[in-house]
Structures are given as structure tokens and as C-alpha cells.
């Protein structure tokens, strides 16, 4: 008797459940704040790396994502410390301010593309850091601002207290990653995601099709700015201090490497895989406490991943490769080559 279960459809979902459900239950296995905070921070980097990938989908290469994290972090830190706002409105305000800054900066800076855009965003990161360092009256300079954990949420039967343990932070991170992942996933699947792709693949053709290049680049930059700002606010409050040294060029580069190693063909899965793998690898190597060997192994590992992966793919694409080997399915990204073959035949 033949099976009526459509394995092509169900198997990926089952695998996704096998990955997601234990992820939700992690606090049951460990209460250790140190291990939990590693997982939490890799989740934060995943959100930032998603933003980087979205900008990359429009063909631009941003090296200033940590600047938007810093803007978000400082916004909520200043609002809570100087204006005595509660955490939650300042958290949302952080995303808003970061989005506004991204929109304003993007509208000016995205006029120049390619390498120049990368360099300008790199410079932007440095400028934000130096302003944070020098604007003593507001940011307290290099001493940094102390940030407070979110207020306790009363749900009647249970109090969610962020000061007592790391577990509420963990679920807060899960919600943030899930929410931003959902938005990014919808953007990627929708018409606008396809437009981003065409803007990146062939700007001239896209322009001749009536696509306003600047508009879509600024949209991608702004959306990434909003979520990166939220992640930055989370990051600042989780580390309980914002200093100018928390976020810099190193962090932007780290985000870029996470996104590329994870795979840029997907907006959500690639960044999550990349950031979880690389952040945990980096933290594990640091804990081994081998003097000096940590950056050597870390850098060598990334180079090896890039060398031995199939050309032009990330870690997440291994799953697609495996899937194609099993079922020989044609996926979205190979479509143009097939179309070329069709054209040759006719």
C-alpha cells in the first residue's frame, strides 16, 4: 500500500519541530546564567545578522550594523537613565529612533553603491562611537551608562521578574527572534523580497522595469535599522551597561561573517545558523582558556568552512543540497540557469 503522507512537505516541518521545541525548552535543562547568556547573545546576533542579509539582498554591503545597535542601545539607555522612562516604551523607542536614523542616513548614503557604501557605513559606526565617547553630558563618555532590566510583568498567576534569573531574558530573546524572523520571512516571500532580489541581481534592468532602486534600498536599510535597534536595546539592557566600546567595527564584521557563513540565500535560517554556530564556537574557544590560540582557531575554522563548503553557499545550504540529493527538487535559486537552458533550446 502506498503512503499518502506527502513526505516532501512534512519532513522539513518535522525537522523544524525537532529543532524548535528543544530550543523552547532549554531553560528546563540548564539554569546556569553563563550558558543561558551565551544562547541569548547568539540570538541577538541572529537578529542583527538577518538585517545584514536583508540589506545584502538589495546588493549593498553594510559594515555599520553595530552603529544601529549602538543607536538603539543608547536611545533606550538614555531614556531609562535620564528621563526615567520604563523599559518597554524605551525599547520600542529604540527601534523607532534607529529606524528613523537608518532612513535618513540611507536616503543620503545609498546614492553611492558598492564598496563606497561599505566604507561610508564603516565610517558611520566610528562616528557613532566617537560621539558616544565625547558627548559626556548625555552618554557619560567612556564611563558608559548603566542600564536597568525591564520592569516585572504581572500576569496574575505568575510574575515575570527579569532581575531574579536569566530565564525571562531567554524567552524575551525567543520572542524577539521569532517576531523579527517572521517579519523578515514574510518580506522575503512577498513581492517586495523579489524586488529586492532583482535590484541586487541587475540594477539597470530593474530600473528599466520601472523599479525605483533608491526606494527599495532605503526600505531594506530602514527595516534592518528598526530590528537592529531593537536588538541593540536588548543587548544594552542585558549587559546592564552601554559603553562606547561595547559596539564597534569588530562587531559589524562579526555580524557580516555570521551572515555569510550561515548562508545568505535565506533571510532567517542562514543568519540564525551562522550566529549560533559561530558565537558558540567563539565562546567555547574562549572558555578553553588557551593563551592566544582562540583567534587562530576561530579564523582558521571560518576559512575552512568557506573553503570546503560548496562554492557560493553557506552552512544552511547544506540542508538544501541534501534535500535536492534526496528528491532532485529544483529550488528557487537555480531557476535562472534553467531558464538560460530553455532559451538555448528554442
Amino acid at each position: 500500500m502506498t503512503s499518502h503522507i506527502d513526505w516532501r512537505n512534512t519532513l522539513p516541518k518535522i525537522v523544524a519541530c525537532i529543532i524548535v521545541v528543544p530550543a523552547l525548552l532549554v531553560p528546563l535543562f540548564t539554569n546556569n546564567p553563563a550558558s543561558l547568556s551565551i544562547v541569548i547573545l547568539s540570538g541577538i546576533w541572529a537578529v542583527v545578522a538577518m538585517g545584514f542579509t536583508l540589506i545584502l539582498w538589495t546588493g549593498q554591503f553594510s559594515l555599520g550594523q553595530s552603529a544601529f545597535m549602538a543607536i538603539g542601545g543608547y536611545t533606550s539607555a538614555i531614556l531609562t537613565a535620564h528621563l526615567d522612562w520604563p523599559f518597554w516604551p524605551s525599547f520600542l523607542a529604540a527601534g523607532l529612533v534607529s529606524g528613523i536614523v537608518a532612513c535618513a542616513v540611507g536616503a543620503v548614503v545609498l546614492r553611492v553603491g558598492g564598496f563606497y557604501f561599505s566604507i561610508i557605513t564603516l565610517a558611520l559606526g566610528e562616528i557613532v562611537r566617537i560621539i558616544a565617547m565625547q558627548w559626556q553630558s548625555v552618554t557619560r563618555g567612556t564611563r558608559g551608562l548603566v542600564t536597568y532590566p525591564p520592569e516585572t510583568i504581572s500576569l496574575g498567576f505568575i510574575n515575570i521578574d527579569f532581575t531574579a534569573s536569566t530565564v525571562p531574558w531567554y524567552y524575551f530573546m525567543i520572542v524577539l527572534v521569532a517576531f523579527s524572523g517572521l517579519i523578515y520571512w514574510r518580506i522575503g516571500k512577498s513581492r517586495i523580497g523579489g524586488t529586492f532580489f532583482s535590484v541586487a541581481a541587475n540594477p539597470m534592468l530593474a530600473e528599466h522595469q520601472g523599479i525605483h532602486l533608491m526606494k527599495y534600498r532605503v526600505i531594506a536599510f530602514t527595516v534592518a535599522g528598526v530590528f537592529t535597534g531593537l536588538a541593540g536595546s536588548f543587548y544594552g539592557h542585558f549587559l546592564s551597561a552601554m559603553t562606547p566600546y561595547t559596539l564597534g567595527i569588530q562587531e559589524s564584521i562579526q555580524v557580516m561573517i555570521m551572515s555569510i557563513v550561515g548562508g545568505i540565500s535565506s533571510l532567517v535560517a542562514g543568519p540564525i545558523v551562522g550566529s549560533v554556530v559561530l558565537y558558540n564556537l567563539s565562546q567555547f574557544l574562549q572558555r578553553l582558556n588557551l593563551e592566544g590560540i582562540h583567534p587562530v582557531v576561530f579564523g582558521g575554522a571560518i576559512v575552512c568552512i568557506l573553503l570546503f563548503l560548496p562554492k557560493g553557499t553557506g552552512l544552511v545550504d547544506l540542508w538544501t543540497k541534501f534535500w535536492k540529493r534526496v528528491y532532485g527538487e529544483v529550488d528557487f535559486y537555480e531557476l535562472p540557469e534553467d531558464m538560460e537552458k530553455d532559451i538555448e533550446v528554442h
Binding site: L124, I260, I293, P295
Partner: protein, 287 residues
């Protein structure tokens, strides 16, 4: 007038120019930016330190050893990593960026394992001060400027008046056409990567007697030479030289007059230049 500031700026300009020149050379042939360029600069200085202070060789021999060693290392990196990661699509540049940035970690970690994390000094190579109308300039700084001019002159001669230079220029202009005329573009790529890394090592060696040497010294010159080639226009050798001179002078002069905000002004200036002239000062606009 503070002539000393301008001389210091000129010395910095020399270092940035030498580095930026190597980077642009690599970019024009390989089509990628080598983000580990600053680490070749750092390794060059450290190899020189070992050769001079530990092996007791004369400075000139150390210079040659450092340049050759870094040239070979650069060729090795090109053969083993960049050539294999660089897939022939726009995405290739992305993977090369990630790989060379990872090499940055690798080299910094390796250097701090071998030489330790502490800053080291090489000691004066050419003691003495030249007094010119009330202005004191140490021979050391003059030597840096003279050496840079010599390196630039050699590079100009090689590129303009030798067969290999002709091959390099041909490969930069039209790789396909160059291949049709019997130029092995793959070998040219490896050679140019070696030359670029050797130039970075030379810049590090020139600087080693003046500033302290440590595994972490590659970062700032790297960013500065990147800015220099962006100001000058990516792919233009003249642009790299002019951009390096502008940045070196600005860096030291602005830092003298307004210490805190010098970097903000520098980066803001770069942004303004790019907004007015997106292809850089000497670049050709590509539409």
C-alpha cells in the same frame, strides 16, 4: 608654524600610501579588497623585529627578509584561499571578504602566540637630527620619506617599463584579451598579490623604528589606507597615492589642532567627498 606636525603627517602619509598602493594593485588585478592587508603590515614589522633584534642581522637584510617572507605568504594565501573561495560571480567578492577578515583573526592570533601581545621597540636605526633653519627633523623620518619615494619609483619603473609590468597592466585592463595574448593571468594574480603584501610589509618595516610594534598595530593603518583608496577612487594607483598623502596629513594636522574630534572630521570629510564625487577623486564613473 609647526613644521614638525607636517613632517609627522608626511611620514604617516608615506606609510598609508605604500599600503594603499599595494591594496589598489591587488584590487585592480584580483577584483577584491584584501582585508588582511594590515596584518601583512604587522607581520612585516614583527619579522623585521625578529631579524634585527633576535637574529642580529643588519636593518637592510631584515627589510629584504621581511618583504620576501610576506610576499611569499601573500602568494600562498592567494593560491590556497582567495583563488579557491572567489567564485566567478558577484558573490565571490563577498566570500573573499569573509575569508580575508577571518585571516585577520588568524594572523593576529598567530602573531600574539609567536611574539607575545606586548608592544616592542626596535630602537633607533639612524640616530641624529637634521637642523634646518630652527626646525629639527630626525634622520629617521627623512629616511622613511626617501625610502617610500624609492619604492614608488621602483614600482613606477616596473609597471611602466618592463615586460612583467606590461603584463600586469594588460591583465588589469582586459583579463580575457590578456589571456589571448599568452599572458598567464592566474600567475599574474599570484605575483601581484605577492607584490601587494610585500609592499604592506615594507610599510611596516619603515614604521617599525619610529612607533612601537605589536600584533594589534595593523588595524588603524588598514582602515586608513582603505579610506585613502576610497577617496582616491578604487582601482586608481594615482588616486591611492594622493588619497594616502591627504589622509596622512589631515590625520596628524587635525589631531594636533582638535584632538578629540579629529576622527569624526576625518570620516565626515570622507563621506562628503564620496557624496560629491561618488567614484572618488581619480576614479572613473561606471554606470
Amino acid at each position: 608654524m609647526h613644521i614638525g606636525i607636517w613632517v609627522d603627517g608626511l611620514v604617516q602619509s608615506c606609510i598609508y600610501t605604500t599600503m594603499a598602493f599595494g591594496m589598489v594593485l591587488v584590487f585592480s588585478i584580483l577584483g577584491i579588497l584584501n582585508w588582511a592587508h594590515g596584518q601583512f603590515y604587522m607581520l612585516g614589522a614583527l619579522v623585521l623585529y625578529s631579524a634585527v633584534m633576535q637574529a642580529g642581522l643588519p636593518f637592510g637584510a631584515g627589510l629584504v627578509i621581511a618583504a620576501l617572507a610576506m610576499g611569499l605568504l601573500g602568494m600562498l594565501v592567494e593560491r590556497l584561499i582567495i583563488d579557491r573561495v572567489n567564485v566567478p560571480r558577484a558573490i565571490g567578492a563577498l566570500y573573499v571578504t569573509a575569508a580575508t577578515i577571518s585571516l585577520q583573526f588568524f594572523f593576529v592570533g598567530g602573531a600574539s602566540m609567536i611574539w607575545g601581545r606586548l608592544e616592542k621597540g626596535l630602537g633607533m636605526v639612524m640616530p641624529g637630527v637634521l637642523t634646518l633653519g630652527g626646525v629639527n627633523i630626525s634622520y629617521q623620518k627623512i629616511a622613511v620619506i626617501v625610502f617610500t619615494l624609492i619604492v614608488m619609483a621602483i614600482m613606477y619603473f616596473v609597471l611602466e617599463h618592463t615586460k612583467i609590468g606590461l603584463a600586469i597592466r594588460a591583465a588589469a585592463q582586459r583579463p580575457d584579451a590578456a589571456m589571448l595574448y599568452g599572458i598567464h593571468v592566474g600567475r599574474i594574480k599570484t605575483l601581484v598579490m605577492g607584490i601587494g603584501c610585500a609592499m604592506a610589509a615594507l610599510a611596516g618595516c619603515f614604521m617599525a623604528p619610529i612607533y612601537p610594534v605589536s600584533p594589534f598595530m595593523g588595524g588603524i593603518p588598514m582602515i586608513m589606507s582603505l579610506l585613502a583608496i576610497v577617496i582616491g577612487g578604487i582601482g586608481s594607483l594615482t588616486g591611492a597615492i594622493v588619497g594616502g598623502v591627504i589622509l596622512g596629513l589631515l590625520n596628524s594636522v587635525i589631531a594636533y589642532y582638535m584632538s578629540y574630534f579629529s576622527e569624526v572630521i576625518l570620516f565626515a570629510l570622507v563621506i562628503i567627498i564620496l557624496l560629491i564625487r561618488p567614484q572618488g577623486l581619480f576614479g572613473v564613473a561606471v554606470k
